[in-house]
C-alpha cells in the first residue's frame, strides 16, 4: 500500500541527474532569509542597490540554490516552507483533496513537496503526511476516471492533476486501451 512509501527515497539529489521534470521541479521558489552577508551579490535582491545582501534580508530562492546554501553543515540562508505546503493549505487538502487544483499550484506538487523534506524544518513531518494523505485521497478518483474514460476527451479529468497524478492517469488509460484491444482480438 502507498503508506509504505519510504520517505528516505525522497532526497534532495534527484533520482536522475538528467531528468527534465526534476530540473524544472527544483526551480520552484522557497522563501529564504540571509543569515550571513553575501558580498558582491546585491543584484540577487531587486529591492536594494547595495552590492552586499545583509543578514536578515528575505529572498525567494529557487530550491536548487536554497538547498545548497542551507545545509546542516552550513547555513548561509535559512528557509521557510512555501505557503502551499503550510498549515492552512494542508487543512484544505485534508478537508477535501479532490477539489484542489494541484496543477495550477504545482505542477510538481508532490515531487517538489518531497524535496522540502530535505530541509531541517519543524513542519516537514506534517508536510510528508499531508502529501501522502492527499495523494491517497485523490488516487481512487484518478484510477476510476482513467479506467472508465475510453475514446473520449479526458482534459476535464486531468486538468487539476499534478504531474505525478497525470502519469498515474496515463498508465491507467494505457491499461484500459490494451485491454480493449485485447478484447477485440488486436
Amino acid at each position: 500500500s502507498l503508506v509504505e512509501i519510504p520517505y528516505t527515497r525522497y532526497s534532495s539529489s534527484s533520482d536522475n541527474y538528467y531528468c527534465i521534470d526534476d530540473i524544472i521541479a527544483t526551480c520552484e521558489k522557497i522563501p529564504s532569509k540571509v543569515e550571513q552577508p553575501l558580498f558582491r551579490l546585491g543584484f540577487l535582491d531587486p529591492s536594494t542597490d547595495n552590492t552586499t545582501i545583509q543578514p536578515g534580508t528575505k529572498l525567494e530562492l529557487p530550491f536548487w540554490l536554497a538547498s545548497s546554501l542551507c545545509t546542516r553543515r552550513r547555513r548561509l540562508v535559512s528557509v521557510d516552507m512555501p505557503k502551499t505546503y503550510k498549515d492552512s493549505f494542508r487543512e484544505i487538502l485534508k478537508a477535501d483533496a479532490n477539489v484542489v487544483d494541484l496543477h495550477k499550484i504545482g505542477p510538481y506538487y508532490y515531487s517538489f513537496g518531497s524535496k522540502l523534506l530535505h530541509f531541517d524544518h519543524p513542519e516537514i513531518g506534517d508536510i510528508a503526511d499531508s502529501l501522502l494523505q492527499g495523494f491517497i485521497s485523490r488516487f481512487r478518483r484518478i484510477m476510476d476516471s482513467s479506467q472508465n474514460a475510453y475514446n473520449e476527451d479526458t482534459t476535464h479529468l486531468t486538468c487539476k492533476l499534478d504531474e505525478s497524478e497525470r502519469c498515474v492517469f496515463k498508465a491507467g488509460q494505457k491499461g484500459l486501451d490494451d485491454f480493449q484491444r485485447w478484447q477485440t482480438g488486436q
Binding site: Y17, Y18, C19, I20, D21, I23, I24, C27, Q36, P37, L38, F39, R40, L41, L44, P62, W64, L65, S68, L69, R74, L76
Partner: protein, 143 residues
C-alpha cells in the same frame, strides 16, 4: 538569477511533443557557457582575495559554485534528452531518419547517431544464426 538561460533550454525541450526534435539551440548553449565562464572567474577572484586576507567572501563563492553545477546539469540534461529522442526515432523510423528531423540535429548529434547505428547493427547481426532485426515487431506478432 543565475541559471535562467540554462532552464530555458530545458523548458524548450520539455515543451516539444513526443516524436518531434526541436532545432539544436547553439546560441542558448553558448550563452550558458558564457555565464559559467564569468561565474568561474568571479569565484577565482574571490578565492584569491580570500587568500590575500579578505574576509566573508565564502558565501558568494558557495552560491556561484551551486549556480555553476546547476548550469552544468541543465546543459548535460539538454544534450542527453535530445539524444534519447533521436535514439527513440531510430527504433521508430529505422536507420535513415526523416529529413525534417535530420535538419534539426547538430553535427555532433549526426556523428553520435552514426556511431549508434553502427553499434546497434553490429549487435543485431550477432543475434541468432543470421542476425535479427530487433526494431521489427515491437509489439508481439499475433502468431
Amino acid at each position: 538569477m543565475f541559471g535562467e538561460k540554462a532552464l530555458e533550454l530545458i523548458r524548450e525541450l520539455h515543451r516539444s511533443t513526443e516524436g518531434v526534435l526541436p532545432p539544436f539551440n547553439d546560441e542558448g548553449i553558448r550563452q550558458v557557457l558564457e555565464e559559467m565562464r564569468s561565474l568561474y572567474e568571479q569565484n577565482q577572484a574571490d578565492v584569491s582575495a580570500t587568500v590575500a586576507g579578505e574576509q566573508g567572501l565564502f558565501s558568494g563563492v558557495q552560491l556561484r559554485h551551486a549556480s555553476l553545477e546547476r548550469d552544468k546539469r541543465c546543459l548535460l540534461a539538454y544534450l542527453y534528452n535530445r539524444l534519447q529522442k533521436i535514439r527513440n526515432m531510430r527504433w521508430e523510423f529505422g536507420s535513415v531518419l526523416p529529413a525534417d528531423i535530420k535538419t534539426n540535429m547538430s553535427e555532433q548529434e549526426v556523428q553520435w547517431f552514426t556511431k549508434y547505428n553502427k553499434c546497434l547493427a553490429n549487435y543485431m547481426r550477432r543475434l541468432g544464426d543470421s542476425g535479427l532485426d530487433l526494431t521489427q515487431d515491437m509489439q508481439p506478432p499475433k502468431s
